[in-house]
């Protein structure tokens, strides 16, 4: 028997000819911080709206805590949503906004007051009860939206890019705060974002979506270290793609010819077939080493620095080599743009850091 908290079973949502969500199935555990990540138009918001009940699926069904909620209207679902633009009611003050959803829960005035006070202190908005939406900053509005949803003690909190409108500093703060809050109250969060850094830093698990389908569902670490396909590899973090061709298998490894570098034995964790040219290799910029001298790493190439960009904690080097067609990006903490004579350098690669992917 399956005891997953939220079950999404073969859900599709079509708008005319557009398949916004295309036969998606997965499960979310109770108390999990779960993110739906993808570029705009990938179907992540539609999926969230399906969970909230603002859209009904074309096919498939949704189970929450064992009961089928596919056909329930939003007001009958034990879910609450934090909207992208917060949707604070402009005609009533903060306190009334937060009380809004308590009317039908059959609470006494005493209980209502208690719940409102609790949630106000939870989101650190004490003293703002009388304010109106127009008198609040973006961060405060976000807190009101959060409080308004949490005060109903939902089984699942749905968040639709809630940090998108905040400036960078505040966004980083709120990320940390949301994460702490979620761990403290233990409510399941389903979080939609297009910001891969945000998803990776906050979530227990992330579903990367593109074109209405889940491309990969795993922990942030797994997503970054072992992307399942070229889309995920490209979307999460930064990477270099190298042309490759597989040769013969060798147990858990496979022989791969990479650009003009030669043939190497690489771990074949995705079980990619032999003698295929429909594959590609990916190397993260920070896994390579840049130096003035040769190293004894698995691969060491001579190169010329075409461009550098200084980013504070790291410097990015864009390097041209004889063996690799495209310019390679390498990032380093130890060097800056003044370190190299005549822009001559060596880049070193460990075979363990090369991941082999199918092109499709």
């Amino acid at each position: 028997m399956n005891n997953s908290f939220i079950q999404i079973n073969q859900i599709s949502k079509h708008f005319g000819n557009v398949k916004a969500v295309d036969n998606v199935s997965f499960e979310i555990q109770e108390g999990e911080f779960f993110s739906l990540l993808g570029p705009s138009g990938c179907g992540k918001t539609t999926l969230l709206r399906l969970l909230a009940g603002f859209e009904y699926p074309t096919s498939g069904n949704l189970l929450l805590d064992g009961s089928d909620i596919t056909a329930l209207p939003p007001d009958k679902r034990p879910t609450n949503m934090v909207f992208q633009n917060y949707a604070i009611f402009p005609h009533i003050n903060v306190e009334k906004n937060i009380q809004f959803g308590l009317r039908k829960l059959g609470l006494t005035n005493e209980e209502i007051r208690e719940r409102v006070n609790d949630v106000l202190s939870l989101v650190k908005l004490e003293g703002y009860e009388e304010r109106f939406s127009s008198q609040l900053s973006g961060g405060q509005r976000q807190r009101v939206a959060l409080a308004r949803a949490l005060v109903r003690q939902p089984k699942v909190l749905l968040l639709d890019e809630p940090l998108g409108a905040l400036d960078k500093k505040l966004r980083d703060e709120m990320q940390l705060e949301l994460r702490t809050l979620q761990k403290n109250i233990g409510i399941t969060f389903v979080f939609v974002t297009h910001d891969q850094q945000e998803a990776i830093s906050m979530s227990d698990r992330v579903a990367v979506m593109s074109e209405g389908k889940i491309q990969q569902l795993s922990t942030p670490n797994e997503l970054y270290k072992n992307p399942h396909n070229i889309f995920v590899s490209d979307f999460i973090g930064e990477t270099n793609f190298l042309k490759a061709e597989t040769k013969s298998k060798d147990g858990e490894h496979i022989n791969v010819s990479i650009e003009k570098l030669g043939e190497f034995k690489i771990k074949n964790s995705l079980n990619i077939s032999e003698n295929s040219s429909d594959v590609i290799c990916s190397i993260r910029p920070e896994t390579m080493m840049i130096d003035k001298e040769k190293s004894d790493w698995d691969i060491c190439l001579e190169g010329k620095i075409k461009q550098t960009s200084y980013l504070g904690e790291i410097t990015k080097f864009y390097i041209e080599t004889k063996e690799i067609e495209k310019i390679i990006t390498v990032s380093s903490q130890y060097f800056d743009n003044q370190s190299f004579k005549n822009n001559d350098c060596f880049i070193s690669i460990n075979l363990d850091d090369i991941s082999l992917l199918n092109k499709k």
């Binding site: 603002f54 609450n80 604070i88 009611f89 402009p90 959803g101 009317r103 039908k104 109903r152």
Partner: protein, 271 residues
């Protein structure tokens, strides 16, 4: 640059003189101590106003106009509210045709509208009176109400309604607690303007009233007697002031809270 500004100023003044000078003669002569509308003015008097107010027929006509105006404005605003919401919120098949159909009475000459209603009403075997006038006014006011309400509802943040559903309110609760208070300035503006349009309307009333005169019909009747002319002037002056105030109020309300997320809504209902 200076030259150009002066030309525009002159044009603007001329425009306002053209628009409002004739209208201003009404209040002017209504205080003149004479039965004729001619210069020089002979003396100041409020006697016309007193005599006007004594007429019981005026009271009857005023009451008839108020009844028709209230019903017509409430019904047309209600119809227009639902329609405006549908047009602003949803994309649907036949959207343009339905919009055109509702706006049509705006463009059809009123006299044709009046004759059509008259013919249909009589052929159904009904009697003329305030009921067909009210129906005609509903038809005629609805496009105006729609224009006002669409302007209000367009640009409305519909995620507020979704938020309300999400927070446990059903469709009616959402309408009552969220949509209605936020549309309210537009609704009141629409009620006021529809009322004024109905209150001032002549042609439909002329064809359809039968024996129960509305206020414009009463004035039309009085015009036939030269000695009653000053009463009509006094009444006209009162109506002009009243109409102007209502229209100003309606426009003020229409713009109220139009700015995004304004808290100073001015109007607070329930809770």
């Amino acid at each position: 640059m200076e030259q150009k500004n002066n030309t525009l100023l002159f044009y603007t003044l001329l425009y306002f003189v053209f628009l409002y000078l004739p209208v201003l003669f009404l209040p002017l002569f209504s205080f003149n101590d004479s039965n004729f509308m001619s210069f020089p003015l002979s003396g100041f008097t409020t006697e016309h106003y007193e005599e006007m107010w004594k007429s019981t027929n005026l009271h009857k006509a005023l009451w008839a106009s108020v009844k028709v105006g209230v019903v017509a404005s409430v019904v047309s605003t209600t119809i227009a509210l639902f329609a405006a919401k549908a047009f602003a919120r949803y994309k649907f098949r036949g959207e343009n045709i339905s919009y055109g159909a509702i706006m049509m009475p705006f463009l059809i000459p009123e006299i044709i509208l009046a004759v059509s209603i008259l013919v249909i009403w009589l052929s159904l075997g009904f009697k003329l009176g305030l009921v067909p006038v009210t129906l005609g006014h509903i038809l005629f006011c609805t496009p105006f109400a729609m224009l006002i309400l669409i302007a209000r509802i367009e640009g409305f943040d519909f995620s507020l309604e979704e938020a309300s559903r999400d927070l446990g309110e059903n469709a009616w609760g959402t309408f009552y607690r969220v949509s209605l208070p936020l549309y309210l300035p537009g609704i009141i503006a629409s009620l006021l303007l529809s009322f004024i349009i109905s209150f001032d309307e002549f042609i439909l009333a002329f064809f359809l009233t039968g024996s129960d005169a509305t206020l414009p019909m009463y004035m039309w009747g009085q015009m036939r007697f030269i000695q009653k002319l000053p009463h009509v002037l006094a009444l006209g002056a009162v109506i002009i002031v009243f109409t102007t105030l209502i229209v100003l109020l309606a426009f003020w309300l229409r713009n109220l809270g139009q700015g995004k997320d304004k808290a100073d809504f001015g109007i607070k209902i329930h809770e």
